[in-house]
Subunit: 340 residues, 4 copies
């Protein structure tokens, strides 16, 4: 059985593991207040050109999303998201559990646009109806749940519409490294810091044991964020493990090397599938590939390959997701291509 | 200015007010534990043929909805509603504030159907995906937000699909009296108790100063409901005011008399508007009328009449809502018809 | 059976009821946006000398407390209260239900002092420990749960310690009218507005059918408060009933007349009990009297009088609470005194 | 600087790290649904003699506590804890954030007793007052926050009083391994499963990179627990890391070997301190030592040693906490003893 189930099916890149081992017995302090984390924060601030930003390390995506959103919003406020957004579908209602409505809207390719944001605002009477939730934040992912990415013009335009309506812009970057190395990407790291009020750089899905680096550029979102992390259960005791890992992550651009490998393998698969006549459920330039498969095709492929189904296309077809990672062997992709 | 803004623009029916006055100085106990409430509960149980039901008096619709839903659901569970449902749109995120997702779906005429419930369940992997909210309740209104009503066959079918999926059926009856007297209604009071796990009979929008009678027929929803009322802020100190009012409400079928007046006036208006060529935004047999109006028509009518706009129809038109109540004077309807 | 159970055992003062009746059929708009409410707000602002304050009408104490506290606090913040405080004991965890810890401390006579506030802050590392709740508000009642009152010097000192620590001062005035007319009171209405960031003037326990007038003097607590009221279920449909009642409440100082009656009767009882040798559980200058009674005394009195028990004093004694109201007949007090 | 700050200041025991490295590139599935976790669960069930128990792996203590408590309680229910309990003091209000009151009571030595549980129940009218929170769970820690432990008789008695009142018994075992090897302990692993409805076995504070094994023995707490983990943000993507670590943890009783080392070193320190005349703030048989120190002593020791202060004793003294771990070098303890 060869797995294309996801990009978190193996441990950590050997260089990351080596860093953990090398520093394993150094005594330090807890809760990410140590020197490793301080250094890693400085690296993030330097790489993303945001010297004034606050950087927090989070153990995973759901808790990063919930903590960021619940810390930013007042009780009567909500967050705008694509209907396919992770917070709207795949977090068992974590955002609602923190008291906030996800104001979802159908978004082609999983991407929000200024027009869609305006439409959500219109449906909420532009924030003038006290009987309705007040949208206060826009949540996007780059890469999105469908593997698509935002261009600089698109992100900049979202930034502008957010400023217009007084909305925070929050970017879930669980797969930001894959987006950065994707064909068609013109966003530099500094752009994320420039256009977003808060965003994070995924590590879990790109070769760390765990960890996301959350960057807060908007001053009004900074105070007491660590209180919020602690309250939401995300204050990791051995926080120095974040520092150790993220230092290794950025050393010699390991993070981009890993992302590039994942994207390259996925793109080989997508190109081959398209050439063989498969319909793409979404055209993804990143490390996730979405193919429209018949039930028979699914049954056949499931014998040798592990992958997830992403939703019904029609009576006879489903969307199947194949994910490549830093650890995906090229031979595995060859085998899948051969089996298509 | 003549108001068709809503059905809670005046105080109480004179007979209700007389009852309040008559009993005003009787000393009793608080929190709806008094004899007036006990009698009113018995009347509700008798009228709705549910001798075993628990009956609670709530001060208004939003708090009735929030309390009922938050009491029924476990943290990871959500409630299915029409996208136009009151809890999804007009309660400033009260349900989410209590921790629960509203699983909304586009519903023609504001009415859920078994097919729509199945579709929501399908989107939630029939409750089998632990990364998704687990739908556990269906929320409907009768009359709906668009003035439409459920037939006995429809309500019975919803009951069946709820049983199939293990969903509670909760009916918001803020305008239940108007539904009961509407043309086309074939639901008897007993049917609400038979098909719903929990529902309420509105009083605020039908001639009481305030008050909804919440009926719980499902035993599993009964324990500790009063704790929940208290916690949500809905434990009314002078609860005996509920008892006094509801006794008067049901005496000589005053509640139906009032509802019949409201519906009759609204239907006169709807018929006249249709005859004059107006497009109905929804065909309502109850006390709310929805007309598609041009901006110019709106401006003209606003000079003499108060009413609410309900949403954009197209660039040039909006849906306008005109509501009649127990207190609407026939001359007011005449004047509006003349002005159309 | 003569009831001293509480001060909300009857309907409304006849003048209040007359006002409701007189305005009953006037058509107005909902949600406290009407002219009656506007006038009543102006009266409150004038009487309490706070022309810039926001005034909101709430249907009862628990929902006023929860709404005010949940609107003011960020998720990681808590509210300081006396251990006997209503929010700590008698609201079924409503404050915690909104996500906030009540930081309770034993408080003699039910009254917080600057020293007690400092002690709570010390226990929370003066707000410097991110692993602890950050106290952000002080909640007091005047009169307190034990019938005691604050002097001007005491309230002013609490105001000062709150400023020092960056705490909001919130005063629950469910029985504020009784405090205002109590012997020993030197607080003028204007002082509440001067020293508190937010407070309310009780109506439910002083002769209205229902209603508390919440006054916000601190600008930072004003925005979007109505959104919060709606979300918490406290947006009363027929809000004009607040306006009608509160206008009558303040006319010719009816509110003080009613409070004075209640306090006078209670003080007659307290004085008589003390003269007869009863131990006072608390010395109350307001409309609640707390006597230490033996089990035998309780059994005997319960035959003819209704009252509540407030907690164990020792193996043989309990504290019994007797409450007088605007509606308490002097003969009832005479009868109780005779029975003591 | 030698650190006695806590027991999570280093990475993992080398055997644990070796296991991670050995299995690093094995492809498996996410979210703790893999074979490593399945094996580790079986080991836990076998060691704790609870073949029917559900075992879940949690990333840390706070999220384990919050998830367990929020999953067990209905909205109006609360949890009883010692005033020094971790959930009451050091989790930034995480429990309240999930909507539940912590019903705290002063508890000598950080330990609850049946008498204290009864007292909390009495203060809550034995659950009969709907205006109060309904206590539904008892939360204890073994070892406690003060390093003390429960005997079998004590735990059994708590179990009995919980049964009597219908309370769940939840044991926070973040330092359970230290308790197990402490002098005076007579609890066998099986006893925890026998007497508790839910408990966990700490790994983070005893030589794992991270991880607690949560054991649910009460069937009514089992359903949908994974939904709750996901919603609270605790669903760890690379869950197989739990399995890998816990397998190594239990191999050849490594967990007990590590705990024994920590306890031995701490006891050496405590004995020496007592012999030197220091007052013990608490007499702890586990890996935490609490000394009463003067400000001058604190200043002097802080020059060479890192440790935490635990609270004021009097004007002149504070309680200082010194923690030993699996990684504490005997020479470090020697140095501290010499410096006392």
């Amino acid at each position: 059985m060869i797995s294309f189930r996801n990009d978190y099916s193996e441990g950590a890149h050997p260089q990351v593991l080596a860093a953990l081992e090398q520093n394993n017995l150094i005594t330090t302090c807890g809760y990410s207040m140590d020197d490793f984390c301080a250094e890693a924060r400085d690296i993030v601030r330097a790489r993303f050109s945001c010297p004034q930003a606050d950087v927090h390390f989070m153990v995973g995506g759901t808790i990063a999303n919930t903590t960021a959103i619940a810390a930013a919003l007042r009780p009567w406020e909500g967050v705008i998201a694509a209907d396919t957004g992770h917070i709207n579908v795949h977090e068992t209602g974590a955002i609602e559990s923190s008291g906030h409505k996800v104001c979802a809207i159908e978004a082609p390719g999983g991407k929000l646009t200024p027009a869609l944001v305006r439409e959500v605002m219109r449906r909420h009477c532009d924030g003038q109806d006290e009987h309705m939730v007040l949208p206060r934040m826009v949540y996007i992912s780059d890469a999105t749940e469908l593997g698509t990415i935002y261009t600089k013009a698109e992100l900049s335009a979202l930034h502008d519409v957010c400023r217009e309506y007084g909305l925070y812009l929050f970017l879930d970057g669980a797969r930001l490294p894959a987006a950065l190395v994707a064909e068609g990407n013109d966003l530099a790291p500094a752009d994320f810091a420039k256009y977003c009020d808060i965003f994070y750089i995924g590590g879990t899905k790109n070769g760390l044991l765990f960890g996301e680096a959350l960057v807060i550029t908007n001053d009004s979102l900074k105070p007491h964020f660590r209180n919020m992390i602690k309250q939401r259960g995300g204050m990791f005791a051995k926080g120095f493990l974040f520092g150790t890992q993220f230092k290794a992550y950025f050393e010699n651009d390991l993070w981009l090397t890993m992302a590039r490998h994942a994207v390259t393998q996925a793109q080989r698969l997508q190109t081959a599938a398209a050439e063989k006549g498969y319909t793409l459920y979404a055209v993804s330039p990143t490390n996730q590939v979405f193919l429209v498969l018949s039930h028979a095709q699914i049954e056949r492929l499931k014998r040798d390959f592990a992958f997830e189904l992403n939703g019904r296309v029609d009576e006879a077809h489903e969307a199947a997701r194949f994910v490549c990672s830093w650890a995906t062997r090229p031979e595995a992709v060859d085998a899948l291509i051969a089996a298509l």
